[in-house]
């Protein structure tokens, strides 16, 4: 069976610019594993387009990059893309990951109720510490890497056929490793460890965690 992945990549402010750049590695890895990738980036990361693709393409994995709230994920124009009570049923039979603030709190469980296989994300604010001089080269920002590497590890592990649970644990291990590295550094950068710890604490996974693609 062929595997498909839908990924949204808005790019309308500094944070989404970082997420857009960092998720390039996910796309490369997916394509190298013969996963068909539907890349809804920038102006294509809007509700009409995403709903259309979710309805037409039987993708096994859906990845959302973007801002969020307890009950929704935002699009390229900072408008609602997916919202509980409106269109979460489009996530039925999907393994979903959202790197966005808070959507793991209400939208995640509601998506499972609506038939999603799993929903992994964050149930509170997601922090990103970064070096502003790297804004044009996000992939060279070593500080941001500490906050984003685990996210790619999670999705790439899914693509390799590991279960949601195993991928989640691998991802948490990376977060903890980065956290320990920061604390052990003992310099001023170690003080951002508290924000990495917050992300670690609020990284959540709902649904069937034994599922694989």
């Amino acid at each position: 069976m062929s595997v498909s992945m839908i990924i949204t990549r808005p790019d309308h402010d500094d944070v989404t610019h970082y997420l857009h750049s960092w998720s390039e590695q996910i796309i490369s890895e997916a394509e190298s594993k013969n996963v068909k990738v539907v890349d809804l980036e920038k102006n294509r990361a809007i509700r009409r387009e995403v709903e259309n693709v979710l309805e037409k393409i039987p993708a096994q994995i859906v990845i959302f990059n973007g801002h969020g709230s307890d009950s929704s994920i935002a699009d390229h124009n900072f408008e609602v893309l997916i919202k509980s009570g409106e269109n979460e049923s489009l996530l039925k039979s999907k393994i979903v990951y959202a790197i966005s603030c808070s959507s793991g709190k209400i939208l995640g469980p509601k998506s499972i109720d609506a038939g999603a296989i799993s929903f992994t994300g964050y149930d509170d604010i997601f922090f990103l510490a970064r070096d502003p001089i790297k804004i044009s080269r996000p992939l060279e920002d070593g500080l941001a890497e500490l906050f984003l590497k685990h996210s790619n590890v999670f999705v790439i592990s899914l693509i390799k056929g590991n279960s949601v649970s195993d991928s989640f644990e691998k991802s948490k291990f990376i977060m903890k490793e980065n956290f320990t590295k920061l604390l052990a550094g003992g310099d001023s950068k170690s003080s951002v460890a508290r924000y990495l710890w917050w992300n670690y604490k609020h990284f959540v996974s709902h649904g069937n965690l034994n599922a694989t693609i």
Partner: protein, 68 residues
């Protein structure tokens, strides 16, 4: 969260002061310098209250051995 106790506010501000000077911290769609984070804590607005919550939770986790 109600008004922040002055001793807690001072503690959080002191801890924020050790952040590196040239970084930005993003909370959702908002970016902050160290100085801006301190200002929000002083003003006790929603951002300031969230920063205080994170600091207090982190201190508690350190104390209870949840961290490392």
């Amino acid at each position: 969260m109600n008004a922040i106790r002055s001793d807690i506010k001072e503690l959080v501000i002191a801890r924020l002061e050790v952040l590196p000077p040239n970084i930005k911290v993003s909370l959702g769609n908002m970016d902050f310098t160290k100085e801006q984070l301190v200002e929000h804590v002083k003003k006790e607005d929603d951002i300031g209250k969230k920063i205080v919550e994170v600091e207090l939770e982190f201190i508690r986790a350190l104390k209870e051995g949840e961290v490392v």
